[in-house]
């Protein structure tokens, strides 16, 4: 199957052209160091945004899962937030925040495109991650909370020491999946101008009329996402094994 596909591509009429514009080894070697430089920015954005996402998502999930009547307005706010930001294309949010906020010309509000792009990504992904956390929290049997409360723990202590540790363990695989998606979507920040891997590659490609630099960027993305995917598979498999063996999950 794959062989046939490869044969079809390699014997196609346009192949010599494609090979030249996408698989030019010299162009790859020339572009790679610059693209790699840009990629460090991707990594930095990814790490900072991921930490923000994990924290913000947890706060939103806790607010949405709480039953306290006093928190009702906040629950409503949290629910609207997740609805809106899960419902919008990430690229649109990046545009709106990246170009909209500076246009307001507010003093004290950052206008650095890296920061604004990061904020846009964090807002979108925290909405997804909040729902992942919430699913985990709601999967914990209510008897766990009953037991914790009956022993004299406050409801905050019960959440902190009994519900959350179990809930987070259960949602690690879906959380890692969102990590991978975020790592790729960092490239969207390029719309706002920062010289991250995709943009560097794009600039080089347009100045040399050769698309090989994009391939260099692709290789770098894969170098991060493929190992991450393997980690997810491993964790998911181990989880399933432990669960079927009846060990603590």
């Amino acid at each position: 199957m794959l062989g046939a596909l490869a044969a079809l591509i390699l014997t196609s009429k346009g192949w010599p052209n494609v090979r030249e514009t996408f698989f030019d080894w010299n162009a790859f070697k020339d572009a790679f160091p610059d693209v790699l430089d840009g990629f460090w920015l991707d990594i930095k954005i990814f790490m900072v945004v991921e930490i923000a996402v994990l924290a913000l998502g947890l706060v939103v999930a806790l607010v949405r899962s709480s039953g306290a009547p006093a928190l009702f307005p906040f629950r409503l706010l949290a629910a609207s937030y997740t609805d809106v930001f899960r419902g919008l294309p990430v690229i649109l949010v990046v545009y709106l925040i990246g170009f909209g906020i500076p246009a307001l010309e507010l003093s004290g509000v950052p206008s650095d495109p890296v920061v604004l792009g990061g904020v846009a990504l964090a807002l979108c992904y925290a909405a997804y991650v909040a729902e992942v956390y919430r699913a985990g929290i709601e999967s914990i049997h209510p008897g766990q909370t009953s037991a914790a409360l009956s022993l004299g723990l406050t409801s905050a202590q019960s959440t902190r020491h009994v519900v959350l540790p179990q809930a987070v363990r259960r949602v690690i695989p879906p959380l890692l999946n969102d990590f991978i998606a975020l790592q790729k979507d960092v490239a969207l920040v390029s719309i706002l101008g920062p010289l991250e891997a995709f943009r560097v590659a794009h600039i080089e490609a347009s100045s040399t009329f050769n698309y090989t630099p994009l391939l260099a960027a692709a290789v770098l993305y894969l170098a991060v996402t493929v190992p991450l995917t393997r980690v997810v598979d491993h964790v998911t498999a181990r989880d399933r094994l432990l669960r079927s063996a009846g060990a603590p999950v």
Binding site: G143, S146, L151, L153, P165, P248, V249
Partner: protein, 251 residues
Amino acid sequence: MSAAPPVLEVQGVTKSYGGVEVLRGVDLSVREHEAVALIGASGSGKSTLLRCIDLLEEIDDGDVLLDGEVITDPSVDPVRARRSLAMVFQAFNLFPHLTVLDNVLLAPSRAHGMQKEAAADSARELLARFGLGERERDYPDRLSGGQQQRVAIVRALATRPRALLLDEITSALDPELVGEVLEVVRELKAEGMTMLIATHEMGFARDVADEICFLHEGRILERGAPGRVLAEPERPETQRFLRRLLAAGRV
């Protein structure tokens, strides 16, 4: 007898869920060192009553008193009241992510302000007393059901409660494991622990309880000394309930 108020007192408690009246005015009291057994069919309201006493459910009307204080009053902090009571559940409800020792230690160290070291010492002592000394590092699901329920009892005792609430603690156990758990409760009774026990084990209720209350459709229909209630029940509902248990070989 002394004039001290009962440890636990339930006065005219009602509770309904979505229009269904589960408790229709329950009165009950448990004096110090006394064990009161709650019997009745599934759905008669035994678990709900225990959960209401432990303030895990809000009652609609009536009062629950602990050492003479109305703990169901809105001005009372439910967390403080719960710290004086401890409940053991039918499904054990051990914390699966914590070892046996940490299950027992969580409440004393987090909720009762005990020093970690002192709490650990007394937790180990309790575990050893109930034959669980070797299991302190194990996670709950490495233990048999009987062992898990004994850990749950130890976890409740570690908070030094004024009274224990036992909610059908042997109903989820394989028959051969029931004995070891009931033995623990007998020991606690011998030491004078104040207990309110919802149970289906009539033989056990007769041995351990000072009083038996028969709960039927959210009311206590009959109460009295175990020998009397179990041997010569007055109410036709009680007679029918006991006949059914007898037919099922549970008496």
